[in-house]
């Protein structure tokens, strides 16, 4: 398929109530890769029919949206982020019909589906690039960025320093250089070309028409290049985003765009525009600071970064996460902080990758249930829509010896049986080996085992998500930090309308006492949100609380 065909006629319309256009602000997102979730045909690779079978599990977890990692046809040299056909499905995962079925079933369960939109570049196997390189006067020639020399855009940083020497690569066929910000097999599309923009809009239309609820846009800052700049975050890039957003709003008003821009909050802020660019952007610098705060037993890093975070338009939202399919990125921290993180969380240098740590949440927390709970508790109570990475809800481990980031992309562990219930294939055939470690292996850590206990991490996570969803203060409230003298206690008020929630986290491994200045809430009764028990009424004196190790409280503040 050389150009995008007309949208398929059998479009799935969202069955759920004409939804709140701000639904993404209340979302709890579950990130998964179809390859890793469930295999229905026994070829050792997860697929859409497999995922379909597990949708009840996802629904039961309580999340409201599923973010699917790239599932397009691809040479798979970069985890699927090197796309060779924007409107197809990688045959290993199923067919377009399978995907349509998935969308329908998800929507039936009130689950939104978010897909990947990798627009900055294509695979060098993409027909567009094949055409473009075929001759210098091909009509698709300037869909990509070409140059006769490799000294244009000098001084632009190279992102994959470990593998790439230049942002230009030599194309021996057309005897010229092409521009790529990532791997050499991922040529950048030329967004100065209106045809490219139109083509991308067609791609979005294709999926939106089918029922996709949102797009996570990859590598946003790098869309446009200009001489004499860093070629990042350019005004022209914002123009591209605004263009796509305008088209989307006109035709599909309840769909949303999520930006991946690993930048400081102040640099990410422009991508929200005046509410006319992205609906949501990931808050990258917050994540390592949550890990840091727990290790330092000091709330300072989190408060510092959140205070540096500018306000965003009313219709926008941050996306926050603890772990994802990439390494725990340490780009947005100082050298000291990075050293500290490495020393504390990745003493084994095998756990380090690029500027980050390739581990899952549970091993990072040394499988300490209390710390896992605290981290998830903060994730669910800080401002933003939380993103859960598949497997972290049961405390899955990782395998840093699988190379690249594959260690955190191993098959989901459903049961203690054959291939962890993931696939009926021979174990050797799996796309990645299962974890067999006695602590984190599937015999120990699996959904089936945890579903049987009300006290398992899985059951606890379900409860946490349920409680999180019970108050809009978490998803839409503004945050106000309390500054008790005890810096090991991280406390804040989330407040929207007449809903008020008090969150008190003990970042320390030891019990702590804290006196909170709650005079502005004098007369309110704090009701603990997990058990529903009322606590003593707030008076004029400092409100004394004691917290066990890594313990946290969520209180609904009620005026009764």
């Amino acid at each position: 398929m050389s150009t995008t065909s007309a949208p398929p006629s059998t479009a799935v319309t969202p069955p759920y109530p004409a939804a709140d256009p701000l639904w993404y602000k209340d979302a709890v997102i579950y990130e998964l890769h179809p390859r890793a979730f469930n295999d229905s045909n026994g070829d050792g690779i997860g697929d859409f029919p497999g995922l379909l079978q597990k949708l009840d599990y996802v629904q039961d977890l309580g999340v409201t949206a599923v973010w699917l990692l790239p599932f397009y046809p691809s040479p798979l040299k970069d985890g699927g982020y090197d796309i060779s056909d924007y409107t197809g499905i990688n045959p290993s995962y199923g067919t377009l019909n399978d995907f349509r079925e998935l969308l329908e079933q998800a929507h039936r369960r009130n689950l939104r589906v978010i897909t990947e939109l990798v627009i900055n570049h294509t695979s060098d196997q993409h027909p567009w690039f094949q055409e473009a390189r075929s001759s210098r006067d091909n009509p698709r020639r300037n869909w990509y960025v070409w140059s006769d020399t490799d000294d244009r855009y000098r001084g632009v940083r190279i992102i994959f320093k470990d593998t790439e020497l230049s942002n230009w690569s030599w194309d021996p066929i057309s005897k010229s250089y092409y521009w790529h910000r990532f791997f050499g097999h991922q040529p950048d599309l030329n967004f100065d070309n209106p045809e490219v923009r139109e083509e991308m809009w067609k791609v979005m239309q294709f999926w939106a028409e089918m029922g996709v609820d949102g797009f996570r846009v990859d590598a946003v800052p790098y869309l446009v290049e200009r001489e004499g700049t860093s070629c990042e975050n350019l005004p022209e890039t914002h123009e591209v985003v605004k263009f796509l957003r305008r088209r989307l709003d006109e035709k599909y008003p309840t769909r949303f765009l999520l930006a991946e821009a690993n930048q400081w909050p102040a640099d990410v802020r422009p991508y929200f525009g005046d509410g006319d660019e992205f609906h949501m952007a990931f808050h990258f610098p917050l994540m390592p600071r949550m890990f840091m705060a727990v290790k330092l037993e000091d709330r300072k890093p989190i408060i510092d970064i959140l205070q540096q975070t500018p306000d965003i338009p009313e219709n926008c939202q941050w996306g926050i996460f603890l772990r994802n399919h990439d390494e725990l990125t340490l780009e947005m921290v100082s050298d000291e902080e990075r050293d500290y993180m490495y020393d504390m969380y990745a003493l084994d240098s095998g756990a380090r990758l690029n500027l980050g740590i390739r581990r899952r949440l549970a091993p990072l927390m040394e499988n300490d249930r209390r710390r896992l709970e605290l981290m998830n508790g903060m994730l669910m109570s800080l401002p933003g829509s939380p993103v859960l990475y598949y497997g972290d809800e049961i405390g899955m481990g990782d395998n840093i010896f699988l190379g690249d980031r594959n260690g955190v992309r191993t098959p989901m562990q459903w049961s203690g049986g054959w291939n962890a219930g993931f696939s009926v294939a021979d174990p050797e055939r799996l796309y990645l080996p299962l974890l067999s470690n006695p602590v984190y292996g599937y015999q120990t850590v699996n959904v089936e085992a945890q579903r049987r206990s009300d006290h398992s991490l899985l059951s606890w996570m379900k409860r946490l998500i349920r409680v999180r969803k019970s108050s809009r203060a978490f998803s839409r409230g503004r945050i106000e930090f309390l500054q008790p003298r005890n810096h090991r206690v991280f406390a804040y008020i989330r407040e929207t309308g007449n809903e008020r929630v008090l969150v008190v986290n003990n970042l320390s491994r030891a019990a702590q006492a804290v006196e909170l200045d709650l005079r502005t809430f004098e007369g309110y009764i704090p009701v603990e949100m997990f058990g529903g028990n009322p606590f003593p009424r707030i008076g004029r004196l400092p409100y004394l609380l004691t917290l066990g190790p890594y313990h946290f409280y969520w209180f609904r503040l009620r005026r009764l």
Partner: protein
């Protein structure tokens, strides 16, 4: 006996907030508004620079300042760490101020510090003066590192001294402590100190802490108690010490009363230890010492000499109750020498100090009087010392001092005998 609670509720609540710490810095203040902010900033920069990962807190016991010292301490802040250290601190820095009753000496301030260190489980504590002008962040590291990284319990400072500076230390305190306690600590009465949490707990529990040591006497007690308690003692080189207040300029007499008196008293408390202590131990000295010969201090030697003569002449009736006849006679003889040829010999000086110490112990006369009677003799010794070293290089002076120390050590049996003599 029920134990008293001496920490104020507010202080305890602030300590609760600080929680467990690795490094605790004590900064006792009393009307130091003008200088204290710089000191606080230097300490904080030192902590952030050298101990970014450790949990640190600064405790500021205040003796009731009327000039807004505690407010200044609380207001001290580094507006932009990046500009100073090219990085930001990882952790929250706690600065706790609390009032203590009474303004006599540092006893109460130290007690609060010990209690805080004990309560917060500090691994290392450092003590700094609020009027230090030459304090740099490096000082903090120099003092804390031996405790934190090398397991020492007590760190005495080593200052870069001008020639003829600190003569009481050089002629009395250092050699006496070295001979009696068996540790070669250059500055036994340093205004700065660092100690381990273990030692802080020991200090807090030690009965002798309740003694009311005047002025800097508490520092003498800390040093000697650490030695007598069998703790690991070392010293750290800091650099020249410049302080805003010239407290020592007040009165030589008061200095001798406070410091000499405290040392004699400590010897009495710790006599079981030092009378049986054999030999002398070199303690490790951390830090890099540049070779720097600072200008000698100007001292009016003639006046000192003259006051010595008057003293010996006029105080005979007092001195004969303190000194042995032989010593007294020897002193009488040297005092008759012409000024140019005047010498107060090392061994005679050591004997004099030893006899004063033991007479203090035996309460031969009122102890305050006894210490006052030491002053004129000390003036004589200083006068002789300066005369002897007038043209000498720093190394030469050091060599002569070494001879003095050896005399002290050689005569220690004399001290022990005089000390134990029944009256």
């Amino acid at each position: 006996m029920a134990e008293e609670s001496f920490l104020s509720d507010d202080f305890v609540s602030q300590l609760t907030a600080v929680g467990e710490v690795d490094i605790l810095v004590g900064l006792p203040t009393l009307n130091n508004r003008d200088t204290v902010q710089r000191v606080v900033n230097a300490i904080i920069v030192g902590l952030v620079k050298y101990y970014p990962r450790e949990r640190c807190a600064l405790i500021n016991p205040d003796g009731g300042s009327k000039d807004g010292t505690t407010e200044a301490v609380q207001a001290a802040s580094i507006p932009d760490f990046r500009a100073v250290l090219a990085s930001n601190p990882l952790r929250t820095m706690h600065v706790v101020s609390a009032q203590y009753p009474g303004v006599r000496g540092q006893n109460e301030a130290l007690r609060m510090l010990f209690a805080a260190a004990d309560l917060l489980g500090a691994k290392a504590c450092a003590l700094f003066s609020p009027d230090l002008e030459s304090l740099t962040p490096e000082w903090l590291d120099a003092m804390v590192r031996p405790v934190l990284k090398d397991g020492h319990d007590f760190v005495a400072p080593v200052y870069q001294r001008r020639r003829f500076d600190g003569l009481l230390v050089k002629n009395v305190l250092h050699p006496l402590i070295r001979a009696a306690y068996g540790y070669q600590v250059e500055e036994p009465v340093g205004r700065e100190a660092a100690f381990s949490g273990r030692l802080a707990a020991y200090f807090l529990g030690d009965e002798s802490r309740r003694e009311d040591f005047p002025g800097l006497g508490a520092h003498v007690w800390m040093t000697t108690a650490a030695m007598a308690g069998g703790f690991r003692v070392c010293q750290a080189f800091l650099g020249p010490r410049v302080a805003a207040s010239k407290r020592s300029a007040l009165d030589l007499n008061t200095t001798i009363q406070e410091i000499g008196g405290s040392l004699f008293r400590c010897m009495e408390i710790q006599q079981a230890y030092w009378t049986s202590r054999q030999g002398c131990e070199q303690v490790p000295t951390f830090g890099f010492q540049p070779v720097l010969d600072l200008d000698p201090l100007r001292i009016d030697r003639r006046r000192m000499y003259q006051m010595f003569r008057t003293g010996v002449d006029q105080l005979e009736s007092v001195l004969e109750k303190i000194l042995s006849p032989a010593t007294l006679q020897a002193i009488g003889e040297i005092s008759k020498a012409e000024e140019r040829h005047f010498r107060f010999p090392d061994d005679l000086w050591a004997k004099t100090i030893y006899e004063f110490a033991s007479s203090y112990h035996h309460s031969a006369i009122n102890r305050d009087h006894l210490l006052q009677a030491l002053t004129p003799l000390y003036r004589g010794r200083v006068s002789s010392f300066i005369l002897e070293n007038a043209g000498a290089e720093a190394e030469e002076v050091e060599r002569k001092l070494d001879l003095l120390r050896q005399d002290y050590e050689r005569l220690k049996p004399y001290l022990v005998e005089a000390w134990n003599r029944q009256t």
